[in-house]
């Protein structure tokens, strides 16, 4: 089947596919932007002036998510979970949601294992950060870039 302009349906589909691939490529190549002020404030509220170190925390979210309305999210922290050395709290923050806080959980040595899962909403392709507060007062973190095809809806009901 050929349209009047001489473009076949196949050509059109091909062009469409190339365009889609191109935009995905652009999204990946996008340089990571500075952390927004609201996210910095929200983080400062839980950590105070303490230094946040990278490591010990593992944030697990699929790298490519089709629907931002329910995104599985698991945070695991390396810790013996004893009375002397355990994870006190885990906080998750998002960069581009209207509110930076996602969830804050408080646990203790009775947890046995510092692994928490939930399902979150992500409004857009962005960086998600998890911060763990240890019983010795130190803070550890992990961050992850998540690609969202369809963001959690903010407009229509």
């Amino acid at each position: 089947m050929t349209t009047q302009e001489g473009l076949s349906r196949r050509d059109m589909l091909k062009a469409g596919a190339t365009l889609t691939l191109g935009s995905v490529g652009l999204a990946i190549a996008r340089p990571s932007q500075a952390m927004p002020a609201t996210m910095k404030e929200a983080i400062a509220e839980v950590t105070g002036l303490a230094e946040i170190k990278r490591g010990r925390v593992k944030l697990d979210i699929p790298p490519l998510v089709e629907n931002g309305n329910t995104v599985p999210c698991t945070v695991s922290v390396e810790s013996p979970m004893t009375a002397e050395d355990h994870v006190k709290a885990i906080h998750v923050f998002s960069e581009k949601n209207p509110q930076p806080n996602v969830i804050s959980v408080h646990l203790g040595p009775r947890a046995g294992r510092a692994v928490v899962s939930t399902r979150i909403r992500l409004a857009d392709t962005q960086t998600v950060m998890a911060i763990a507060e240890m019983s010795d007062g130190s803070f550890w973190s992990d961050r992850l870039d998540v690609l969202i095809t369809l963001g959690a809806c903010l407009e229509d009901s």
Partner: protein
Amino acid sequence: MARPLINVPATAKRGEVVAIRTLISHPMESGFRHTSTGERIARDIVTGFVATYNGEEIFRATLFPAIAANPFITFHTVATESGTIEFRWTGDNGYSANEQAKITVV
């Protein structure tokens, strides 16, 4: 009001780390959405979740609008003794729900 879904192993060995899964049906209206006429839909979310094991708090969470509808939370605890694990959700507009599960420690 829908019943919360809880998954706690019925029996566990003393000192074993058990996984607890909880799900409660709630729309988690974020408060950031608007109707077609431009009015903002008021926030209506679950804001708090507490789990107690024989009366002692073992897990607590503060939820924000970025938690998906029907909040699903999984965490762990050490099976210390036989008894009841109680779960309590609280939220906007006086929302409150309770559920409990029995665990036998051998």
